[in-house]
């Protein structure tokens, strides 16, 4: 207490002195007098305090038993809450995680070993043909895709995908597979999936540059049922990513080898996935990003590879070939050549051919994505034997059909986002009031399909063309990472048939050039 008083006094003096820096001598005298006076009073106070009897320690007040009881109760309740918090926190670590946002909709276990991702895609198209005086094509709106699917993993490395398409007819279950990816270097894919052949076919259905893929795609099977061993390797020192499913566009080197039922050019098995013969198709693909992790940023997105199939189908049905964007048939295997009996004047058409015997395909392929620019090129050679029958004389007709096709496409994301084999991710989502417009991509493509001339020993040249060339211009407006509006214009010209048709007879000439403008509104998450 005494110490405190001295401190207070000294502080007061200090304050007083600081407050009068310019004080005169009279003021200083007055202050000194005042200090002496205060000192004298302090001494008297101290003496009086020392003389006074020391206060006795007050007896500790007895704590009320009720208060004690309440204190115990409060302490107990507090502790119970702590324990409950501990239990709750522990339980929370076992609850699944829900994630809804730009990465999609997913539920996963806390340890990350189990995951369910809910995905969906809607593609609403419009196709409008110009210079189509004979109305050979139909202007139309159509629902191209209506898919809701589940994908994810169980027990850390068994991946799955189950994808029905409610807008499809026939094959309403395009993908249903499981992929045991125990090691990134060797995973086993089983079920129904895209065979590892055409690069553009393997690209995600919502990720392509145009509404529809180019000609080479349609010489590969759309889907097939089988088993595939696949794996990936990275440059030394880098981690190899586990990429489940039929396509891996992330790792440095990838391979796929598979055995499939074989579903023919552009074929896709129906839901029961029945095969009609014992012969299987062997599929193999190698693909590399040779400049990945080299530091040459403009070359890192370059990928090159080759794929092929070998099969021996027995009476495999053949699917018609159609133009890329217009989706109008220009090669129809049901429209066979007819021979007219000059006596009876009865025309007997050849039987619809099937693919019989040795079949192979070869697909060199490459892409290059650098900054906003992207290029993709693919060549396809498909060889098979068409077996038909001249029904007039009951003689078999076997024709070796060697079809070839190629395409080159280039694209540019003018708003500066990175171009990629996957979907473009806008830097800014579409929000016009905020001055944000999403991402805009322009693209151009040239693609050709050459059908073996021998085909027309069986097919009617008035109904099918032997060569098609299509060029396409397209624009893609990515509103956000889910929503997209596409607009494509494509012009397809034909050689070698399907020309003038008069009274059901081919009078020569080629099918008229197809002009189509198409749009798509797409939501894919």
């Amino acid at each position: 207490m005494k110490h405190l008083r001295y401190k207070t006094l000294a502080g007061a003096i200090q304050l007083a002195l600081l407050g009068i820096p310019t004080a005169n001598a009279a003021d200083v005298d007055a202050l000194e007098r005042r200090i002496h006076e205060l000192e004298s009073r302090l001494e008297k106070f101290e003496k009086a305090t020392a003389a006074a009897p020391a206060p006795t320690a007050a007896a500790a007040p007895a704590v009320n038993p009720e208060v004690q009881k309440l204190t115990r109760k409060v302490n107990t309740l507090e502790r119970k809450l702590e324990v409950q918090d501990e239990v709750t926190a522990s339980n929370f670590t076992k609850l699944p995680k829900f994630d809804v946002g730009t990465n999609g909709f997913r539920i996963s276990s806390q340890d990350g070993q189990h995951e369910l991702r809910i995905r969906g895609a809607v593609q609403a198209d419009g196709r409008f043909f110009s210079e189509d005086a004979n109305h050979l094509s139909t202007d139309r709106f159509e629902l191209k895709q209506g898919r809701v699917w589940l994908e994810g993993k169980v027990f850390k490395n068994i991946y799955y995908k189950i994808m029905p398409d409610f807008a499809a007819s026939g094959n309403i279950l395009p993908d249903a597979y499981l992929d045991y990816a125990y090691l990134p270097e060797a995973s086993l894919l089983v079920g129904k999936f895209k065979p590892s052949l055409s690069l553009e076919r393997l690209q995600g259905d919502s990720d392509g540059t145009f509404l529809e893929r180019a000609f080479p795609t349609y010489l590969a099977s759309n889907r097939d049922v089988g088993i595939q061993l696949h794996g990936a390797f990275s440059k030394s020192g880098f981690t190899t990513e586990v990429v489940p499913g039929p396509i891996d566009a992330r790792n440095t080197f990838t391979y796929q080898v598979g055995v499939m039922n074989g579903s023919g050019d552009d074929g896709s098995p129906n839901n029961d996935s029945k095969d009609t013969d014992d012969n299987k198709e062997f599929v193999g693909r190698l693909f590399a990003h040779p400049f990945q992790h080299t530091g040459y940023s403009w070359l890192e997105g370059f990928g090159v590879g080759v794929a092929g199939t070998v099969g021996d189908p027995n009476a495999q049905a053949l699917k018609a070939q159609a133009t890329p964007i217009g989706r109008t048939t220009y090669l129809d295997y049901t429209k066979t050549y007819g021979i007219t009996n000059q006596t009876t004047k009865v025309t007997t058409a050849n039987a619809t051919p099937v693919s019989n015997g040795e079949q192979y395909r070869l697909y060199p392929q490459a892409y290059w994505y650098a900054g906003p620019f992207g290029v993709m090129a693919e060549y396809a050679a498909s060889s098979q034997t068409l077996s038909g029958k001249n029904q007039a004389n009951n003689k078999n007709i076997n024709v070796r059909q060697d079809n070839t096709s190629w395409q080159v496409l280039a694209s540019w994301v003018v708003t500066g986002e990175d171009n990629s084999f996957g979907a473009v991710k806008p830097i800014q989502n579409f929000s016009p009031l905020d001055g944000q417009w999403g991402a805009l991509q322009f693209a151009a493509r040239w693609t050709e399909m050459d059908i073996d001339k021998g085909t027309f020993k069986i097919l009617d040249p008035s109904k099918s063309a032997s060569h098609a060339t299509a060029w396409t211009l397209g624009a893609n407006w990515y509103l956000n990472s889910y929503a997209l509006i596409r607009a494509d214009y494509e012009q397809t010209s034909f050689d070698g048939g399907a020309g003038s048709i008069k009274n059901n007879f081919w009078t020569g000439g080629d099918r008229a050039t197809e002009h189509v403008f198409a749009t798509r509104f797409q939501l894919s998450f």
Binding site: R72, N75, T76, E78, R79, K80, V83, E86, V87, S90, D111
Partner: protein, 337 residues
């Protein structure tokens, strides 16, 4: 120059030879997943074993510890916690590692002496100094108004021992009537103020937060309370009758093989049975299994009648009957009960 080269060569060879052991010394890490109150014991034991192993092999071994309620710890290992060894409170919890994931061999308990239990212990009480409520035995704990602290048998191995000791006491004093025993443990848990998830949590509740009149706990934990919180504040009460606890240990072979630590993990547990290991066990108030060392520490452990879990049919049966979902414990304890 010729001499200089030879000297350099000799020096180089010498340096390589002398450096070789240091270069070859391996740095080994083990994870010991244990139950709640063994923290202090294993801290001391791990240091001793590291020194022993270094002297024996030249290798550096670091043992990381994980502690919690025994049941919870076993579930963590089953869920993927990569323990090289487990040292848990009851054999049932360890057995789950075989039953559910085959992480250990079926005969794990026969791989080390004494059913793989390097020490035993028992269950006693801690009360506040002077024992104001005069608590002496189990029947004192079920009296109205006595506030008991014990962990939750669903998550803690120690709590299951506590429960079993009370149950066996009730059987003994009620002509083996299970109905009477059920009523007894029901009353006991009605008197429980807080159910912590592990034994150490209960110690905190009782000694640090000063909640409750009596703490039912491991013998070693009881003496730790005196040491940590003061013998002037608490005292240990040994009941007339309790359970002989046999906390077992085993190598999680599946994990240890994967880590390449099978040999050191096995030696780590074997060392528990050595004189040095048993000394540390005794110093930490666990009852050594080695008779010579046990005799040395005999005075610190009061005499009482101890029963073995086998008398109740073994842990598998006890677990199924009392602690499985819908078992006796669920019937006597829960919301609204």
């Amino acid at each position: 120059m010729k001499i200089k080269l030879r000297q350099l060569l000799v020096a180089g060879v010498f340096a390589a030879l002398t450096a070789a052991p240091a270069v070859n010394a391996a740095d080994i890490k083990l994870l010991n997943v244990s139950y709640d109150p063994t923290r202090e014991f294993y801290k001391e034991y791990n240091e001793a074993f590291s020194k022993y192993w270094k002297a024996k092999t030249g290798d550096n071994v670091t043992i990381n510890q994980s502690h919690g309620g025994g049941g919870k710890q076993a579930r963590a290992v089953l869920d993927g916690l990569e323990a090289d060894v487990v040292t848990l409170a009851i054999a049932f919890d360890i057995d789950q590692l075989y039953q559910k994931r085959k992480l250990i061999p079926e005969d794990w308990q026969s791989q080390l002496p004494n059913n793989s239990s390097p020490y035993t212990s028992t269950i006693v009480y801690v009360v506040r100094k002077g024992n104001p409520l005069g608590i002496k035995d189990w029947n004192d704990l079920v009296k109205p108004g006595v506030s008991v602290i014990t962990p939750n048998p669903k998550t803690s191995g120690g709590a299951r021992w506590n429960y079993v000791a009370a149950w066996a006491y009730a059987l003994k004093h009620n002509n083996n009537s299970e109905q009477a025993a059920t009523e007894f443990v029901s009353k006991l848990f009605k008197n429980t103020a807080v159910l912590d998830t592990g034994a150490r949590g209960s110690t905190t509740t009782f000694a640090e937060r000063e909640i409750g009149d009596v703490l039912i706990t491991w013998e070693n934990e009881a003496y730790l309370v005196l040491k940590e919180f003061g013998a002037d504040k608490y005292e240990v009460v040994t009941p007339s009758f309790s359970v002989l606890t046999e906390p077992p240990v085993t190598v999680v072979e599946d994990v240890a093989r994967k880590h390449g630590t099978l040999e050191v993990a096995t030696e780590y547990l074997k060392y528990l049975y050595s004189k040095e290991g048993q000394e540390i066990i005794g110093k930490n108030y666990y009852r050594p299994s080695d008779s010579e060392v046990a005799a040395k520490f005999d005075k610190q452990f009061p005499k009482l009648e101890l029963f073995k879990i086998d008398q109740l049919g073994g842990w598998n049966e006890v677990q199924k009957k009392h602690f499985a979902d819908g078992g006796v414990f669920d019937q006597i304890y829960g919301p609204g009960k």
